[in-house]
């Protein structure tokens, strides 16, 4: 029996792609033949990590395909046609309305993605969801099969690598560094971070910077609007990192004083886990899967008023006891996401699915 993974696109640094790669390793350790097949393997990932879908072997009825469902693709519809046992891992599709004013193409892709999720509702045998929110989404979309929650697998080992020295040196200059990690996208609400940072600089500490770590396209309308917003309000020290190497991401966490997240739609939010690993106190807006991932840790705010958020940042930065308590709670929460723990959970779910199907 083979357990294959199918994914529309696999790209370097992408959370869904990383999850697939981590699951492949776990499946191999479990003794299964397991490879990843994708419609598109984006460089710099090589053909050893994932194969193009035309290289996919024939599947038998007792084989299992795990499909990563997160975007609009032909595969969402083709997946139903495979004559084997089917598991979908739902990573969530960003609601298209976020892209209304910014990107008609992405809006269309996400609408198509949701159509695909709906289409598969009665065509899969079992589902895994990254979070309770994703599970609830599937239930709302009429999924009747069994659904379990399995957080995204994060390889803690990778984060022990040495952070980029040049970046650590450059930004360890006495300034307070606030970071957010995630591609530049309208649902992540980077404009709210900029507005809060504007007031923090104005009222509390001018020697500070906001680092928006994440990829963008120069021609992306939302990115262009953010750049213009920074110019128009006249706030300095807002840095857009663009797509950077992994050791550079690690360096930004290393120099960060606060991890700030104002995102209004997250299916899980891996950067929260990353911030926990680097013991960076988290301030996050209470939306979608964020409270679930924080699990009671972090500083969860219920208001997006930029003056209020700015004061919250100041409080975390200046109140040593509060900061220590936040980090202590985050460390406790991090235990739940340890690789061994999630890998064990995944193994149990897969074994239970196989046993149940055989009965």
């Amino acid at each position: 029996m083979q357990i294959l993974q199918l994914i529309p696109t696999i790209a370097y640094g992408d959370a869904v792609g990383n999850d697939a790669i981590a699951l492949k390793k776990i499946l191999k350790k479990m003794g299964y033949v397991s490879n990843i097949y994708a419609e598109s393997v984006v460089e710099p990932l090589d053909s050893k990590t994932a194969y193009k879908i035309d290289k996919m072997p024939k599947v038998n009825e007792d084989d299992i395909i795990i499909y990563h469902l997160s975007t609009g693709s032909e595969l969402n519809f083709k997946f139903a046609k495979f004559k084997c046992r089917k598991i979908a891992i739902y990573h969530n599709v960003t609601p298209p309305e976020f892209f209304e004013q910014n990107d008609e193409f992405i809006k269309g892709i996400n609408e198509w993605g949701l159509e695909g999720v709906r289409f598969l509702s009665d065509k899969v045998d079992y589902c895994l969801a990254d979070s309770e929110l994703n599970k609830q989404d599937l239930i709302d979309l009429n999924y009747k099969c069994e659904i379990d929650v399995l957080p995204i697998v994060v390889s803690f080992k990778d984060y022990k690598k040495t952070p980029n020295r040049a970046i650590v040196k450059k930004y360890s200059d006495g300034y307070k560094n606030f970071i957010f990690t995630g591609r530049i996208a309208p649902n992540k609400k980077q404009e709210d971070l900029i507005a809060a940072f504007y007031y923090y600089k104005k009222y509390y500490n001018d020697k500070s910077r906001l680092i928006l770590v994440g990829s963008y396209k120069e021609t992306d309308l939302y990115y262009m609007r953010l750049k213009k917003y920074v110019e128009e309000i006249g706030v300095e020290d807002v840095i857009f990192s663009g797509h950077i190497k992994f050791d550079e991401i690690l360096a930004f966490y290393k120099v960060a004083d606060v991890f700030l997240c104002m995102s209004e739609h997250e299916g899980f939010c891996v950067p929260l886990i990353e911030a926990m690993m680097f013991e960076v106190p988290i301030i996050a807006y209470n939306s979608t899967a964020i409270p679930g991932t924080l699990g009671g840790s972090g500083f969860l705010v219920d208001d997006k008023d930029p003056i209020f958020v700015a004061k919250c940042i100041d409080k975390v930065v200046s109140d040593k006891e509060l900061k220590e308590n936040l980090i202590k709670n985050q460390n406790e929460r991090l235990e739940d996401f340890k690789y061994e723990h999630i890998a064990e959970q995944f193994k149990n779910y897969i074994n239970a699915f196989i046993d149940k199907e055989q009965v």
Binding site: Y199, K228, G296, K328
Partner: protein, 145 residues
Amino acid sequence: MSIQNSDIDIELIMQEIKADIKEKGYTNDLLSFNDIVVDTSTMNVSKFDKISFNEEIYTVNHTWNVQAYRVINGSKIALFFKKVVRKMVYFFVEPIVLEQDGFNASIVRLMNQMNCYVDETKEQNLALKKQVEDLTEKIKQFEQK
């Protein structure tokens, strides 16, 4: 598992912060992001970015083939009229779409060729750079002799 913030009362801290802001009289008069409009008539790119290039290549490879035929929805009567309209315009629309698809396919092939060219040139450049470094090192050694 959920952590109990036993040592911290976030709710209380937030209330204190809100009271403090009220007392100081801070108000948000910042320009709204919704008022930010950018001119999209130009699609300037100031530097080459291979990751963005790959993403665009992926997008064009998946979207070049536009279909003239559209699946239509609606009530029985609306469906009937829409089908009539579709049939009436199809003879006119289809050749235009096919022509556009032919053009799109050429552009996508061209971009894929460019992608190969970029990769090949990158490899050649790296090899040449290495060669220059080796030769510079050899010259240095000769000069020291």
